[in-house]
């Protein structure tokens, strides 16, 4: 591990040197930790960096009673080594060559693989590809990559919408409720434009967003979903 970057109170980015490069945006890695007694725990984490970035970055949300994430977010230090298998998965991935429009829907740290896609698009200068992100977070302090997101929106031509479901700062211009069909229709490109849709977040979030997207007329086969599971780890 090269370095760590604190993103929010509970999320930390790990910058890793790995002996491979050229993943596809949206892919994940399996991280395996082995205790001194031989006990092993393995979890999957999305890649946050773009394929063009020089080092691999994972952003890990700490789950307090998890087996792997507390160590990765609190104990791991620069110079530590651990086992990483990847890059993995082709279904939940996107390349500039796949084209757009791109409609990304994120719940909390479900932003991580979608950020890799936005970074990839920005690195390649593919501003002609219509890209929209709808991010749901509890409070403004829970939004990871906040400053970078604002830059991608203002300078990078991506359309960003954020909804804060628990508390909104004074003068907040964004949404302040859970994601609903009206919001998805306002932010996303129309089903007639056949956008590539990627939804990532906790299981219940992905479930309800995907159902609403299908009800709005999006092709179920164009909706790529990645669910975290009930608790994470």
């Amino acid at each position: 591990m090269r370095e760590t970057i604190d993103e929010t109170a509970s999320a930390r980015t790990l910058v890793l040197d790995v002996p491979w490069s050229g993943h596809r945006a949206g892919q994940h890695v399996d991280v395996r930790l082995t205790a001194e007694d031989g006990y092993q725990a393995e979890r999957s984490y999305s890649i946050a960096s773009a394929p063009e970035d020089p080092a691999l970055q994972l952003t890990v949300e700490r789950i307090d009673d998890g087996e792997v994430s507390p160590w990765l977010t609190e104990e791991a230090r620069a110079g530590d080594q651990f086992e990483v298998r990847g890059p993995i998965g082709g279904h939940f991935s996107w390349r500039v060559e796949d084209g757009g429009p791109l409609f990304l829907v994120a719940g909390g740290s479900g932003l991580v693989p979608l950020m890799s896609m936005l970074r990839h698009r920005a690195n390649r200068g593919a501003t002609e590809i219509d890209a929209r992100l709808l991010l749901s977070a509890r409070t403004i302090d829970d939004v990871i990559y906040r400053d970078e997101l604002m830059g991608l929106g203002t300078g990078g031509g991506a359309h960003l919408a954020i909804t804060l479901t628990r508390a909104q700062p004074d003068g907040w211009q964004g949404y302040g409720r859970r994601i609903d069909a009206e919001m998805l229709a306002e932010v996303g490109s129309s089903p007639s434009e056949a956008p590539r849709v990627f939804v990532c977040g906790p299981t219940a979030f992905v479930e309800s967003a995907a159902d609403m997207l299908v009800a709005l007329g999006h092709d179920p086969r164009a909706i790529h979903a990645e669910r975290f599971g009930p608790t994470g780890g």
């Binding site: 998965g89 082709g90 279904h91 975290f228």
Partner: protein, 91 residues
């Protein structure tokens, strides 16, 4: 994405075992397409539903029919498959 230990309470996506499938088949499997033996729906393996317990069960996202089961022990993996699977080996 971050996954959690085995649970029967909820399901994940086929993506979640992309690493295990690659280990078993020697190739990326989540983009492989499966035509369901029960309802005929053709969906990417990564879009199938994954139920995890003592083993793994993949189900059709359209009709819930069983697509694949993987029983695991320390040394062995026992795999059953249903429907028409199309994937490229040696790619």
């Amino acid at each position: 994405m971050s996954t959690d230990p085995p649970t029967t309470a909820a399901w994940l996506d086929g993506n979640a075992i992309a690493g295990l499938l690659a280990e078993l088949f020697g190739t990326e499997m989540t983009t492989a397409e499966r035509a369901c033996a029960s309802c005929g729906a053709r969906r990417a393996v990564g879009a199938h539903r994954l139920y995890r317990g003592a083993g793994m069960v993949l189900r059709c996202p359209a009709c819930d029919d069983v697509a694949m089961t993987i029983a695991m022990s320390e040394e062995r993996r026992l795999v059953t498959m249903r429907g028409r699977w199309t994937f490229e080996l040696g790619a």
